[in-house]
């Protein structure tokens, strides 16, 4: 059965750029300082002050736009967006209106688990603007009391506007995940949604399939989504809600004004926001206090050259160079540049990409999560772990024992694999010794021998415990193989 409609989603993402100082003054952008301690006459909009562009913020924006495959405008200007709000002390926000510094880019999304089809999502534009302050409404004891914190006022924001190219909440989430990863690789933002360094608004409507073709429903903007999970849920809710509204009213795009709805994460619903807040005329005009910013083609090429390897390219390279699966490359790349570097060192050192990927995902990541560590703090270096993997591969030690005994010891003591093996008396048991042990055990257990001969090969497993008691260094797998091989002749 085909769905009765297609969900059309576009996203607007505000990213706080990781500059030390604000967009138009020298104040710190650090999060969490006591209210109004990171302000100066410029960012609190005192009479007579003037903004001066922070070139660093512009560079971070430029780096992001280039990574998003955007066209970079050689000439870009600033505009004022006028509106009144107590946390906007100048009464206008300095933003970019009709000549943003970048436009027309794209970001590819896909999912190795197959939840979504690969898709190229267009970027309409990315532009710079200053953040507003924060209003805190304290309505305790029925006494409404609002307080303003201007620490955030003037923090540089990059607004990224996607085309309405996403067709499901899962695609929207995949886009956000990939974008966040890209921003992290670029080092342009810490992307902390809780602290507000990444904020998402969504525009969504339906294309209802009718016998006369697709009919678009009115576009709704959704705000107040505080996690990617919330975005996914809000979009799913909103699509279903719009479908109900369509069935009840048959309203099409253009028949009602664009609506803004807020996501209520507790109640799992979107709610309409006051109409007054939607119908603003911002009276944009060119900011006369700033001069236009210019970028040369050479500067753009310089930025492109310094981007480093970005997630999509890195996944492809890991798959082709190390023979790992798209699933594995996705897991590794999503962990960030540092972990990928560790993986490459591990795979190169061990001479086995697949084994390196397995060790990394099963043992290293588990340990990092358990200890809440980042890879640069991990006590076992890639070179030492590679040495252990090589020893397993050579057959000097059994894989399980390598994980459970040697790796654990390396983690706690920081010793090399070779040292741990020596100290624990772990050494390779040669084939003739193994065969002798196998004969002895089979002879001592006639019931098991008979079972094996009758084809119940798994009966041999019962011998492992005894074998390990005799010699803890044996490879259980190899011993089983030998048992099965010699049993028929006994």
């Amino acid at each position: 059965m085909t769905a009765p409609y297609t969900t059309i989603i576009g996203l607007e993402i505000h990213v706080q750029l990781a500059t030390a100082s604000k967009l138009f003054c020298g104040c710190s952008t650090r999060f969490g300082a006591p209210p109004n301690t990171q302000t100066c006459q410029v960012c609190i909009g005192m009479p007579g002050v003037l903004p001066v562009m922070n070139r660093r913020a512009f560079e971070l924006g430029l780096r992001t736009a280039v990574a998003l495959n955007c066209q970079i405008a050689p000439f870009t200007k600033w505009d004022r967006k006028n509106y009144y709000y107590p946390d906007l002390p100048k009464g206008y926000q300095i933003s970019q209106y009709d000549l943003p510094f970048s436009s027309e880019g794209w970001l590819d999304i896909s999912d190795p688990k197959g939840k979504i089809e690969p898709r190229r999502v267009g970027i309409i534009r990315a532009h710079l603007e200053e953040d507003a302050g924060k209003s805190m409404h304290d309505e305790a004891a029925g006494q409404a009391d609002s307080r303003i914190d201007l620490n955030r006022t003037g923090t540089p924001l990059l607004e990224i506007v996607s085309k309405p190219d996403m067709r499901s909440p899962a695609e929207a989430k995949a886009f956000l995940t990939e974008l966040k990863l890209l921003l992290t690789y670029l080092g342009v933002s810490d992307c902390n949604m809780q602290e507000g360094s990444l904020r998402v608004d969504a525009n969504v409507n339906l294309h209802v399939h009718t016998p006369d073709g697709n009919v678009p429903t009115p576009i709704v903007e959704i705000k107040n989504m505080n996690s990617f999970r919330a975005v996914e849920r809000a979009l799913a809710y909103e699509a279903e809600r719009q479908w109900q509204v369509w069935q009840e009213t048959g309203q099409r795009l253009g028949q009602v004004p664009k609506q803004t709805r807020g996501w209520d994460d507790q109640a799992n619903v979107t709610r309409g926001q006051r109409h007054k807040e939607e119908s603003s005329d911002y009276r944009y005009f060119p900011e006369p206090d700033l001069v236009p910013a210019t970028v040369t083609a050479a500067e753009v090429e310089q930025v492109r050259a310094e981007l480093g390897e970005l997630p999509a390219a890195l996944r492809t390279r890991l798959e082709s160079t190390y023979g790992i699966t798209p699933y594995d490359s996705d897991v590794l790349v999503n962990q960030g540049r540092e972990l990928v570097a560790y993986f490459i060192a591990l795979a190169d050192g061990a001479g086995d990409g697949k084994a390196a990927a397995n060790w990394l995902q099963q043992d290293v990541l588990r340990e990092l999560n358990a200890r809440d560590l980042s890879i640069d703090k991990f006590p076992v270096s890639a070179a030492r772990l590679a040495e252990l993997i090589a020893l397993v591969k050579k057959g000097d030690i059994d894989h399980t024992r390598a994980r459970e005994v040697v790796f654990v010891e390396m983690l706690s003591s920081g010793k090399s694999a070779a040292d741990v093996l020596r100290e624990k008396g772990i050494e390779r048991v040669d084939e003739s010794e193994l065969e002798a042990l196998a004969r002895e055990l089979l002879a001592a257990n006639p019931k098991i021998l008979a079972d094996i001969k009758q084809g119940t090969t798994k009966a041999a497993g019962a011998l492992i415990g005894q074998a390990k008691k005799r010699n803890p260094n044996i490879s259980p797998n190899r011993l089983l193989e030998i048992c099965l091989a010699i049993a028929p002749g006994m």
Partner: protein
Amino acid sequence: MTLLEKTATELLADLAAGRLSSAELVRACLEQIERHDGAVHAFLRVDSERALAQAKAIDERRARGDKLGPLGGLPVAIKDLLCDRDELCTCGSRMLENFRPPYDAAVIEKIKAADGVLLGRTNLDEFAMGGSTENSAFGPTCNPWDTTRIAGGSSGGAAACVAARMVPLSIGTDTGGSIRQPAGLCGVTGLKPTYGRVSRYGLVAFASSLDQIGPLAQSAEDAALLLEVIAGHDPRDSTSVPKEVPAYSKSVNKPLAGLRLGIAREHFAAGLDAEVERAVREAIKVYQSLGAKVVDISLPHGKYGVACYYVIAPSEASSNLARYDGVHYGHRTDVRIMSEALEAERAALEHGSAGRAAAEAAVAQLDTPLVRMYRQSRAEGFGPEVKRRIMLGTYALSAGYYDAYYLKALKVRRLIRQDYDTAFKDVDLIVGPVTSTPAFKIGEKSDDPLAMYLVDLYTVSANLAGVGGIVVPCGQSNGLPIGLQLQAPPFEEERLLRAAAMYQRETDWHRRAPTLA
């Protein structure tokens, strides 16, 4: 000649030679203000203690043999539109009646560093919006030549205090003629520099793309002295231009040979007072006698200047003045009275004769307390002319009108600039009147904003084009001063000053002072 009849340059020589102390000079200024400012009202506030303390400190340093800055203890009056952390900055408005800025404007820093004495704060049209200083919330400034007449504006106080010989040097600002026009009407020398020549940092913005700070003084020589101090690039003002500042005070007395003066036929059209025209043409003859060549030119788009200006300046002002909302600083309405009134309005609607549904709809239309606070604070804090311009600008920038007004005005602005570029291919300076008539009576145009706006006819184009202009006194009509305006290509302030000084060596209009009762 009495002490205060001397020019700043002459006083500086006296100070340097030890014939005069800065404290004596400041005391003389304070006495003159005490005696005459009741009638003139050039100053909003004079901090005599602070001024005397600064003067004494400078005198002590001079006595010790320290090298002093180029203003060497000369007093300077400041238009009450520039931030000084030790002063209120009212901008001539109730809105900022008690506002003390937390920082110094770039120009204030420079004057302090140059050892100028900050004598007091001069009157202005509210937020520099006006041409007569009648729009000051604290009362008009009167013309020292006839105190029933306007001093011009918006830097009316800045011009009147120099004319009345209360202070040798004064700082004004010019957005559409606000230095040059009052200089002309008060008979002093006033210079509006090229846009970008002087940092606007700390100048409370009226129209950011037009505002410029400049000197007012008795002579071009004195203006050169003060301009040299305040000019120069400032990294805090992105629109200030990184260009070397010439030593204006060194070159000001070098005459210009082979000067080509452009006379725009549009400047001598209908509406120009016959006496003003006569005085301006006499002044041109003086230049001709010094070897200047006169060239007829045209500035065809100048006639759209006033219209263009009154779209662009209010548009920027509507945005620049949005910050005065009663939230963070400045005037805030009495919130208790406001809340009670709002409650009363709500109760009246709820218990009125209208039906329930109508009453609910009416209540829903009521202001929120925040919006009412904004509206009422601004309604109380701003005077009528400021409100008029905020409304004009808000309208011009609104969706649906932007293209027809603001964008069109920007196009006209480009054409006006091109007129200048074309003209300056053939001439070194453009010479003409600064106002069409001498000072008019206080109150004469108060009820006619449009007539008031036309006062800017000869001055707004320089702001729109970003070029510099200087005004020097060049005659009188019935005892009222007449000004001559010279305009130069961008960053040719040196040429303006040298040309003005050439004229002032041949004439004594700039040495004439009013007789004050």
